[in-house]
Point group: C2
Chain length 199, copies 2
């Protein structure tokens, strides 16, 4: 229905194709954009073009970035003896927000999932093994998700890496901080109990 | 925190300025955009620039559009004797989606709100009165919101227009279709009762 005129309707249409953006949200976003000062609207458009044009994968850790090496792999301040293995660039970002982990990452770009036909060759496993040969790694932290796929991926990597003689660890399962026991599922509670630490 | 590289971080930043888009949503949107085919990403950027550049207000009804007259005012199929007065272009869109109302609109671009210093001169009241003189209007339907501001705006218009001898009506208050009485506030229930119709 074109009651706004072609350009606005087109913008609403384009925006409503974004994930989690329905018709009404798209309309709200479009109106916001239209009401921005012209240079800010143009800036947003330019960011889209530039980010899309310059995006590539880091040659070392395979996270999404815009240079040969991502800022983390390029930094000299990181501890090069520890690699945290994650499924996606978003997971890397999540751990970076903790500001505590100072090692390197390896982004698998997925998890092993026989259900949807994703095997070890479809994710960056081989690239990780090559890194383990070339770099001086002491510990590999498996930080794949706690889903069936993430667990399978972690187990697979553990079997593969342990024989090389590198420490392999897995991030802990447990009650989220601020979490109310009442609302937490039994398996998590059980894992939290198993993983209890001495005070 | 720049763990993605400049261009991606910039895009996430730009997106997170949109209303209702927080950091995580911005990240999800940015990743989606980056994974689009290049022409689709460019298309989105172009839509933003074009919509912003070409946006203006309809010279007759003051809705947001991109020509002198909006598609509704320009249409010959609409009933020119009825004007529905709404606060925003979004409200016009909401009624257009019903596909039943065939009259014209008048978008006030706001509602009278002494609290935030918006008086009759700050919205398109005078423009409406000029239309009522020039056009051959039989009925003005006040479809401002059912908020304090919307009600005040409706009352003000009613006082202004009735003396001219034009029919002035107000859209009904009542129980929303599909609404469970249990969850509906007392004032709405009372209005629904007052506005009951014979079956």
């Amino acid at each position: 229905m074109d009651y706004y005129g072609t350009h606005i309707t087109k913008l609403i249409e384009e925006l409503s194709r974004l994930p989690g953006v329905g018709g009404k949200t798209a309309q709200r976003l479009a109106f916001h954009i239209i009401n921005l000062p012209e240079d800010m609207a143009n800036q947003l458009a330019k960011s889209i073009v530039l980010a899309k044009r310059n995006t590539r994968y880091c040659e070392k850790c395979f996270t999404i970035t815009d240079k040969e090496l991502c800022p983390i792999c390029a930094s000299e301040k990181r501890n090069g003896t520890t690699i945290m293995v994650v499924e996606q660039s978003k997971d890397l970002a999540a751990y970076e927000r903790t500001r505590e982990f100072k090692g390197l990452y390896h982004v698998l770009q997925g998890a092993i999932s026989p259900m949807i036909g994703v095997g070890p060759n479809d994710i960056k496993v081989r690239e990780l093994l090559i890194r383990l040969q070339k770099e001086d790694i002491v510990e590999v932290i498996l930080a794949t998700s706690s889903t069936a796929e993430g667990e399978a991926t972690a187990t697979y990597h553990s079997m593969l890496i342990k024989p090389i003689g590198i420490n392999v660890t897995r991030i802990a399962n447990g009650v989220p901080v601020g979490g109310d026991l009442e609302y937490i599922d039994e398996i998590t509670l059980l894992r939290a109990l198993e993983g209890r630490i001495e005070l």
